[in-house]
Point group: C2
Chain length 431, copies 2
């Protein structure tokens, strides 16, 4: 059934167009912004990517920045959540169809009511963002930032929604050595990226409704921790620039750059283009894996990664079934994970081919990094974004949209209906 | 069962070590060759890759070149074929165990006797190589090549075994405009890369034992044709350097560079490093897909690619089963294809990470290209091979070995036995 996928895609496209229209208004712009750049920023915000062709901190008025922030919040929570919550507030009841779509979108277990779930999600989000902003405000004020309260709110929302949009032209590089800012942004990003499912699960465990964390939550939690710890260790010992930092900044800088890729938030405290290529490969790997399902982040998702690793291990060890963490993996899960990976790779090769044609002057590694960053809705860049030609911007816009809607959902939404149903006999493909 | 995989790996490693020992002999070397370079060349020959750290045409004596040629022939036919054929010649009968291993290695249909198959393969190979050498000889003689008969034999064997080793320091660039050389090398490479299965199938069809080509042969044949035609068209219209060539050389040059990647033979008639990055991406894509199972080429294999495309199409269209070419794909085939892809990607990321650390002075694209070329046993290079540090050479040696043994077989050979058999209850992974 391709209907829900089409609806989701159309929903996001609508928000992008509304955002584009609002950002095109003269009183949204502090300096003239080209139409394609306004569309780029709107797409980047709704998809919570954070790639920017113009500096949002100087190009937009307060109204423009507010539009960007609202687009981020809408994109981060998912337009489904927002829409459902609005309905909830009005009539205290979800339509049956809407409840079903919501259940499908969040992979909600059968015994949790969508109504309760949505309300909890929105309340939890606002509380997290408020706490984050309250911690960031004195820090930004002390650093002499313009309008520190607004900057604190903007960065807290941008972190929890894993958008990575910053009002500062060099992202958070000025706060590289500030533990409080590092910890606050990281905590918000990790909470957002781990996903609502884990939050619900944690909440149910805390409320005594279940004894242990569910299997999915365990997998997500363990993989996220593994990536963060292993990644930080690798970056700390291999990158010459980070090795040269003062001891106390070294671990924090390594952790932040790994965290920003793994959660797909996309802020940075160190200039990305100055990282060594080996570390950039680690960052690219993390950007491909991405965050967790039903979270605000992008990428292939940690659960897909878990299934694929389980598949390889089981195949190499000659098991007669695919297992992971001692559990059997269902065929449909394998199919979803594999199809996502293959479609991701296909879209990546096609997009990269287009970018190499439209941007002959740019470096291969920078373009690959840019495409992976867009598809994973990460927003880190080796510096290609500002140099893109109009056609290159269009390619990145498509990738950010696909990344936000979900790689596979994007494909399903674009796929034609299945028309050939007949099957032939000689079906033995020898590999 | 990991035994056959281990045997295969040990078999190839034995041939590599024998080759290394022979190439280390003083009368094999025309100019001094370091031990690591001798091992590199031996591995490159047995794996039919063709990457070289020293120029084989000037570094080795005739004896050394003969050793390289024998290693190529052994690697191309597979040590199993050679070994089985030796037994056949001695006792006109295959041991039961050997017959089973051979059947497994070539995915031989039940109704074809391994004995007949092996004999046909070797005879067919020698006939093809002899015809190829006979056509190349007058061309090489006319071009004033040293010892043209030897050069003709060497290049014919190197082409059919998709090894791509050349006695000329600039591969076949001197023959870019020569139709006969282009056609002969291409035909030999395509025959070798399509694989013995297709040859058996064609032979049975021609002998009237079956009405049509089998499904596997059809898939391999159609995909190979598709890649060659589509690839040539794309390269012809996008690469500025090839567009600038005289009209008659343009199509031939585009075709040859696509053919060399798709068959994984690795000769070139145009300097690879002068191709545009967009075309290099096409070449990389073809090198990843690779040739066909049971052929002499490397890569993921066209059949795996077919299965994965079938999986994506079926998933996007919401089919309840995975189909391709209107046939249902079996679960084990999906598992093999997916595990190969994921293991390939994992090994690639690990190898690239090592190369980026050991070769900080080399370009990211050149190293990625080099690693893909080694893993696919292709042998094309953007120029990194000669610049590699000793550790970098070791990484490439490992990749060439994995590529020849087969990505998945390599993993199975290295995997430990499966020890945990218990399974837990809570096995619902929500994606
Ligand atoms: K982001
Ligand atoms: K080769």
């Amino acid at each position: 059934n391709t209907e829900p996928a089409k609806l989701l895609l159309i929903g996001y496209l609508s928000y992008m167009l509304i955002g584009f229209a609002l950002l095109s208004l003269p009183f949204a712009q502090a300096t003239p912004v080209a139409a394609l750049d306004a569309l780029f920023i709107a797409t980047s915000a709704v998809s919570t990517t954070g790639l920017v062709t113009v500096d949002p901190g100087t190009s937009f008025t307060f109204f423009g920045e507010l539009v960007v922030l609202l687009l981020i919040q809408i994109g981060g929570l998912g337009y489904m959540t927002i829409g459902s919550f609005a309905v909830l507030a009005l009539q205290d009841n979800l339509g049956k169809m809407r409840a079903r779509t919501c259940r499908a979108a969040f992979n909600l277990p059968e015994d949790i009511s969508p109504k309760l779930f949505l309300r909890s999600v929105v309340i939890f989000t606002l509380i997290c963002e408020a706490i984050g902003a309250a911690i960031l405000y004195p820090k930004f004020a002390a650093a002499g930032v313009d309008n520190p309260l607004w900057a604190a709110i903007f960065h807290a929302v941008s972190a929890f929604c894993t958008a990575g949009f910053s009002l500062f032209s060099s992202s958070l590089e000025a706060f590289r050595g500030d533990f409080t800012v590092n910890a606050t942004i990281s905590a918000l990003s990790i909470f957002g990226a781990m996903g609502f499912l884990i939050i619900v699960d944690l909440w149910r465990t805390l409320m005594g409704r279940q004894r242990n964390l569910g299997f999915t939550s365990k997998v997500i939690f363990r993989l996220t921790m593994l990536f963060l710890i292993l990644g930080t260790a690798v970056v700390m010992v291999t990158d010459p620039g980070i090795i040269a930092l003062p001891a106390e900044e070294r671990i924090m800088t390594a952790f932040f750059q790994v965290m920003t890729a793994a959660t797909t938030v996309g802020f940075n405290t160190y200039p990305i283009s100055e990282l060594s290529m080996a570390v950039l490969l680690v960052v690219m790997f993390l950007m491909v894996i991405g965050a967790s399902p039903a979270g605000t982040g992008g990428g292939l998702k940690t659960t897909s990664f878990a299934v694929l690793i389980g598949l390889v291990r089981s195949t190499l060890k000659g098991r007669d079934e695919v297992r992971f963490f001692k559990r059997r993996v269902r065929f449909e899960q394998l199919q979803t994970a594999t199809a996502s990976l293959v479609f991701y790779l296909g879209l990546m090769v096609a997009a990269l081919f287009c970018l190499l044609l439209t941007e002959p002057a740019l470096d291969f590694a920078a373009l690959l990094f840019e495409a992976l960053s867009a598809m994973g809705t990460v927003g880190l860049s080796m510096g290609a974004t500002g140099e893109l030609s109009p056609l290159g911007k269009v390619v990145i816009i498509v990738l950010m949209t696909a990344g936000r809607v979900g790689i596979l959902t994007f494909g399903i939404a674009l796929a034609s209906r299945d028309e050939s149903r007949e099957e032939e006999r000689d079906n033995e493909l020898v590999m």
